[in-house]
């Protein structure tokens, strides 16, 4: 646990016309140097918001960080002022967003966008920054980098744009990269290229990576450790091997059963989780997953199960783990 980034009891709320929306309900996780950690969950589980909070990018209002600590390299990011955060954001922590189409500025050249952070944070001159930009584009596997620098985003394909985003994220040699669904908008063959590139560069440069995704296949292939999120809470935390070998929360089990697999024949049993995700403006007292859970008891509907250790580096927030494991064995 811990090391480079440590998040403790983070609570983020959004004020909406329908009431207060509990986006993140007290989550804690850590990222060690050089490690790839995945946040997995469906839409509305709070995975993106918790990452935006790290960078101080939660839109306020309507959003509000209610409580918690985010420690990065020993400093509490939440108690820093805006100026100090700017010295870290883009310099030590950078972000790769989901939509390569909308996260680049359409009216600025690639050179301008790629060199901005380096000139600002590293104090490089225009020509030094340009030289480094060429290096970076080479590193992310773009052909003809000199010409690319003069181009504008609309002249590049989706995969190329995402490569530019990666180059930008790496430009100041950060310690941590947060990638929010980095390949969801891309085709499968390009997705594989981009994810392998990110993994390779992180391992080679010793950068930590937080990868936010809904794709359990991507997690299995790339992550070292996984946090499964549901309705703003982490319901299970484990190493990737342990999570898939012995899933220990009913939601994780349901999710793994819902996923269709390429290595299973047609007609393989499909056992979806019944019901819908909860309304985040009206979360009840108990476990948020209880209404959809086959193992739920009266206690589950009254109390929120805490995230407790069930094995070394494996934690689950469920009162009925014994029943769950009995069910799996049967």
């Amino acid at each position: 646990m811990g090391g480079l980034l440590e998040i403790e009891n983070l609570v983020v709320e959004f004020q909406t016309p329908g009431g207060v929306l509990q986006a993140v309900n007290g989550i804690s996780y850590g990222v060690a140097p050089g490690e790839i950690v995945a946040l997995v969950g469906e839409s509305g589980s709070g995975k993106s918001v918790s990452a935006l909070a790290v960078l101080g990018l939660v839109p306020t209002p309507p959003g509000r960080i209610v409580s918690g600590h985010i420690r990065f390299d020993g400093n509490d990011l939440l108690s820093m002022d805006a100026k100090a955060i700017r010295g870290i954001r883009g310099r030590h922590i950078s972000m790769i967003f989901q939509e390569p189409m909308t996260s680049l500025n359409p009216v600025l050249s690639i050179q301008r966008q790629l060199t901005e952070a380096m000139r600002l944070h590293l104090g490089l001159s225009k020509s030094q920054a340009r030289e480094r930009a060429v290096e970076l584009l080479n590193m992310v596997g773009m052909s003809d980098p000199e010409r690319r620098l003069a181009q504008y985003p609309h002249q590049l394909s989706g995969g190329m744009r995402q490569r530019v985003m990666i180059a930008m994220a790496l430009s100041c040699e950060p310690k941590l990269i947060i990638a929010d669904e980095p390949t969801t908008a891309l085709d499968v063959t390009i997705q594989a290229q981009i994810l392998s590139l990110i993994q390779d560069l992180c391992k080679r440069l010793g950068v930590s990576l937080v990868i936010i995704t809904h794709n359990l296949g991507v997690v299995a292939r790339y992550a070292d450790r996984v946090n499964v999120m549901y309705a703003g809470r982490i319901v299970e935390h484990a190493t990737t091997e342990a999570l898939y070998a012995k899933p220990s929360h009913p939601y994780t089990v349901g999710l793994l059963k819902s996923v269709l697999r390429l290595d299973q024949d047609r007609g393989a049993p499909l056992d979806p989780i019944p019901g819908n995700p909860p309304d985040l403006t009206a979360l009840g007292d108990g476990c948020a997953f209880a209404p959809r859970c086959a193992f739920a008891t009266g206690r589950c509907r009254r109390e929120i199960p805490p995230l407790t250790a069930i094995a070394d580096d494996h934690r689950s927030a469920c009162f009925e783990i014994a029943a769950l494991h009995r069910g799996q064995a049967a």
Partner: protein, 347 residues
């Protein structure tokens, strides 16, 4: 085939050569590329679909897979007559519908329905669910009586796993999964024979996606539906389809039995596509090759000569740059468009 009980389609397939419900012959759809604002002129053509042929038997589900821009949606739109093909024929139940229009198309449009990708934009936000589902009944003069129509809507809501009181609600009050169920209920209202599912589950979360796939499978068995299942998600296609057709840049590269193709892909592009999809199991992932094809899909306005896949293909030979490969049958019944692989298999 796995241990699952045989479906109606399986039985139909087992009973010998089924008559195809839909036959697509050498379908071509070219879009003009125009330049200029005042003096508009055509400077080229975009070959969205370039000579595609396939058949779909009754009760069968054909998966159409490929990456964005490969022309899979255009094929669906041509079958729905939302696009007029530049060439080729579409034969439905023995009738060529390519040139037909007007009153004759009325019955065709009843029998062929579609389910779209985006459950947010494919439902009219100003109509309540009951009206959305009953509109096709009204247009096709089925259930002219108001009460009968309302009952039919209730039955359809039941069939699609929605509560009956949803009939008076509006799309914005529902979740994505519920909206997609409304879209399915609307498609089923006219008791169609053939349903085109264009990325019908792609916009949904994993747990909801599994629910909708279950529903589509149940409906297929209950009503004997035939699906053309268009998707970029290979795992979904693997699960639901009997046969699969793989497209690349407007052309078919491989078509055949779904289990056979996924177990043992032959065309280099199909192989590349399957390698790129991660399996949700780290134990298996460790043992898999992580060599991915480089490069990107070329522009369909200016496609490469010869085989369109040759610039990204590891097995390409000199001849691939010149000759356009034709679809050839393999001994196991599938067809592929790759003479190199074909020759290696014969040797």
């Amino acid at each position: 085939m796995s241990g699952a009980a045989p479906t109606m389609a399986d039985q139909a397939l087992a009973s010998g050569e089924p008559t195809p419900l839909l036959e697509v012959r050498n379908l071509r759809t070219y879009f003009p590329v125009r330049k200029g604002i005042v003096f508009t002129r055509t400077v080229g053509e975009l070959r969205a679909v370039d000579g595609v042929s396939f058949t779909i038997g009754r009760g069968e589900t054909l998966g159409l897979v490929g990456e964005s821009g490969c022309g899979k949606t255009t094929i669906g739109r041509c079958i729905l007559k939302l696009e007029q093909p530049s060439g080729g024929n579409i034969v439905f139940d023995g009738h060529d519908i390519t040139e037909q229009d007007g009153a004759r198309m009325f019955e065709y449009r009843r029998r062929v329905q579609s389910i779209f990708q985006d459950p947010y934009s494919s439902l009219n936000p100003r109509m309540c669910v009951g009206d959305i589902i009953s509109e096709p009944l009204l247009i096709h003069h089925i259930e002219a009586d108001f009460i009968a129509r309302a009952n039919r809507v209730k039955t359809l809501l039941d069939t699609c796993g929605l509560p009956r009181d949803l009939a008076d609600r509006y799309p914005h009050e529902m979740s994505g999964g519920q909206r997609q169920r409304v879209g399915i209920a609307r498609a089923l209202a006219l008791r169609p024979d053939f349903v085109i599912c264009d990325e019908a589950v792609s916009a949904l979360d994993v747990s909801i996606q599994a629910q909708i796939i279950r529903l589509l499978e149940d409906l297929r068995d209950e009503f004997g539906l035939t699906y053309l299942f268009i998707s970029h998600d290979l795992s979904v296609v693997r699960h639901i389809c009997h046969r699969v057709a793989v497209m690349y840049l407007g052309k078919l590269v491989e078509i055949g039995d779904c289990d056979a193709i996924f177990r043992d892909p032959r065309h280099p592009y199909t192989q590349a596509l399957l390698t790129a999809v991660p399996v949700p199991d780290p134990a298996i992932e460790k043992g898999r090759t992580h060599e991915y094809i480089g490069g990107e899909v070329p522009s369909p306005i200016n496609p490469p000569p010869g085989c369109v896949f040759h610039p990204r293909c590891a097995q390409a030979e000199a001849a691939c740059k010149v000759n356009i490969p034709a679809m050839e049958a393999l001994p196991d019944g599938r067809q592929i468009a790759c003479p190199v692989v074909r020759r290696k298999l014969d040797a």
